[in-house]
Amino acid sequence: MKKMITTDNLTELWARLAEESTLYLPVQDGPMVLFQPWQEGVQVDLEAFNSAVSPKDIFLPREETYLNYRCSGQALELDAVEDDRAITAFGIHPCDLKAIEMLDRVFIEQDPPDNLYQKRRENTTVVALSCTNPDPFCFCGVFDVNPLDAPGADVMAHLVDGSLHLEARTEKGKALLEKAGDLLEDSTVDIAKREVKTADFGLNVKGLPEDLKSRFEDPVWDELYKSCLSCGVCTYVCPTCYCFDVEDYGHEAKGERFRCWDSCMFGHFTQMAGGHNPRPSRKERVRQRFMHKLQYYHEAYGEIACVGCGRCLRSCPVNLDIVQAIKALGGEKVEQR
């Protein structure tokens, strides 16, 4: 079922989708584009290359309360918080959708699964959007992401000559297009003809995860970390980082327990109650982050936890990004090892 909608009709489409679900889409916020809930009057930017922060927070919010507690004497009452909202995630680029599928393995394909994440994921219809405008930092090709197609999408969308071409791929996707109904026309444009060029920085990651298995003490780590400022930019803009912390707000008698993003780049991330810190310096923390992306995740799930979205390249204040790390570790096309 291939359909198209003219950009004039998009606002009406969004208004309809927002009536029945929380609709997240790329919105101009001040100087940048971020995924935010749609509301009347927001400036949606479907042509932006990539949002400044990844859309992972649709499923893994920066902060969420999951438990309310009340305590009197010996009696303790616990209320689990549920999130039953229907969600539409509109305009997710193929790289970001692949990243979300990586999070699925961590949060859903486990026993027991994370029910808050799982429910949100199940209640979401994903409208993926192919890339028209990759910037110099996009290098998704290195990780076999096709910027023109997102296999996991419910609806695949392409922006061509001022119209949005939509193809439903799942039942959820069909239901979404039915809601759009009269706003849609039949599409005849051949999407396959388009071509998008992304950077590759001369990278070749084949064999890198296996190689890294024995390189925990590699001298590369003694140098690579030096410029790291120990801030959390890379982890917070990254679509595949998923670490969180749990904290309480309130007091003995009443309060709530929430989880919120945390970053392995912070010194306190691994601080233990007794004072011991197994990752005391930037070296261990930088190694942890890149080893997790390039080796640990691969060992657990068979894939490198990077989709080449380029956000760390764009945002790291000192340009210590995953490309630099891969290069330093020898993941270049020219055989150096």
Partner: protein, 324 residues
């Protein structure tokens, strides 16, 4: 890159190679190119091979002085390339007793201001292949030809209102000083915000701060944020909650800015480091402006011997309360 830069780079390399190879310094903090011509990253040079990567051009934004905090733990003597703001950052660390002056060799680099690639690309389009510079002009080179533009318009936000492009503390000045600059619009944004009503101002900050990810890049990049334990990580009392509530964002940003009262050198590294472009310099400059207004002109980092205004007092000081 332009010839001027290459000439300068050769001169810099000559001096620092000599010092590094003769053992006067064990480590040189400089810059090397990033993935693209408009990027640079810190270089930690210990050998001649390392120095081959050294670069000096209009994109060496990172303030290197801060790295002294870590590098002086491992090295007896460290050389640092300092621009104007980096040298004031060094003074800041010196004043806080975070570094020892005689263990650091400062190489002064008068700085024409760092260029912002985003602005250049917005002007030239994504086809921008490179630039050449001469006499306050930039030539933008694109596939379809060359365009000449004025350099001033493409400076990073942090450089636009720079007062002291020349290093104020150094052991050796490597290039020709440029003299003090004018910054007529330094407090313009602050002045404009001050004319708003409290409600409007609150709405403005609430919106700007709502983007905050609490990645603490502003703090980590800052030369005055050198506390061994920041209030953010303090456990008892726990001042800074982890939640992304507006009230928590306000607490962090007000306290971060306030800790720089009379200490902030206005280098703008916080704002440059911010991944979501929060106008942090407006908060910093508000404090600079007020303190100068109330307690006399003071520029942090200019002179390490001068006492910062909030560490001292005069019995007849004015106050900003409704009762004076």
């Amino acid at each position: 890159m332009a010839e001027r830069n290459l000439e300068q780079l050769e001169k810099i390399r000559e001096v620092v190679s000599q010092d590094l190879l003769s053992g006067r310094i064990e480590l040189l903090l400089g810059w090397e190119k990033g993935h693209y011509w408009w990027q640079s990253r810190p270089l930690f040079a210990r050998s001649k091979d390392d120095l081959a990567k050294l670069t000096w051009d209009s994109f060496c934004a990172v303030n290197l002085s801060r790295y002294l905090l870590e590098e002086l733990k491992d090295h007896q003597k460290v050389g640092v390339l300092v621009k104007g703001c980096d040298s004031r950052a060094f003074n800041r660390l010196l004043q806080d007793n975070m570094v020892e002056r005689d263990r650091v060799v400062l190489y002064g680099l008068p700085c024409p201001g760092i260029l912002d690639y985003k602005l250049l690309a917005a002007e030239a389009g994504p086809e921008l292949k490179g630039i050449a510079e001469e006499n306050g002009k930039i030539v933008l080179k694109t596939a379809s030809g060359e365009v000449e533009v004025k350099r001033d318009q493409f400076l990073m936000a942090k450089c636009r209102e720079c007062l002291y492009p020349d290093p104020v503390v150094y052991d050796q000045m490597l290039l020709e000083p440029q003299g003090k600059k004018e910054a007529p619009e330094r407090f313009k944004a602050v002045d404009e915000l001050e004319t708003l009503t409290p409600e409007e101002r609150f709405a403005y900050w609430e919106k700007e701060l709502s983007r905050c990810l609490r990645c603490y890049a502003c703090r980590q990049a800052c030369p005055y944020c050198s506390c061994r334990e920041c209030f953010v990580e303090q456990e008892n009392p726990r001042w800074q909650g982890r939640a992304y509530q507006p009230s928590e964002n306000f607490l962090f940003h007000l306290v971060r800015a306030y800790h720089g009262a009379g200490r902030c050198i206005d280098c703008g590294e916080c704002q440059r480091a911010c991944p979501v472009d929060i106008p942090l310099q407006e908060l910093n400059r508000k404090l600079i402006k007020d303190i100068n207004e109330l307690y006399g002109d003071y520029e942090a980092g200019l002179d390490a011997e001068l006492e910062p205004p909030l560490l001292t007092y005069r019995p007849d000081d004015p106050a900003a309360f409704s009762e004076k």
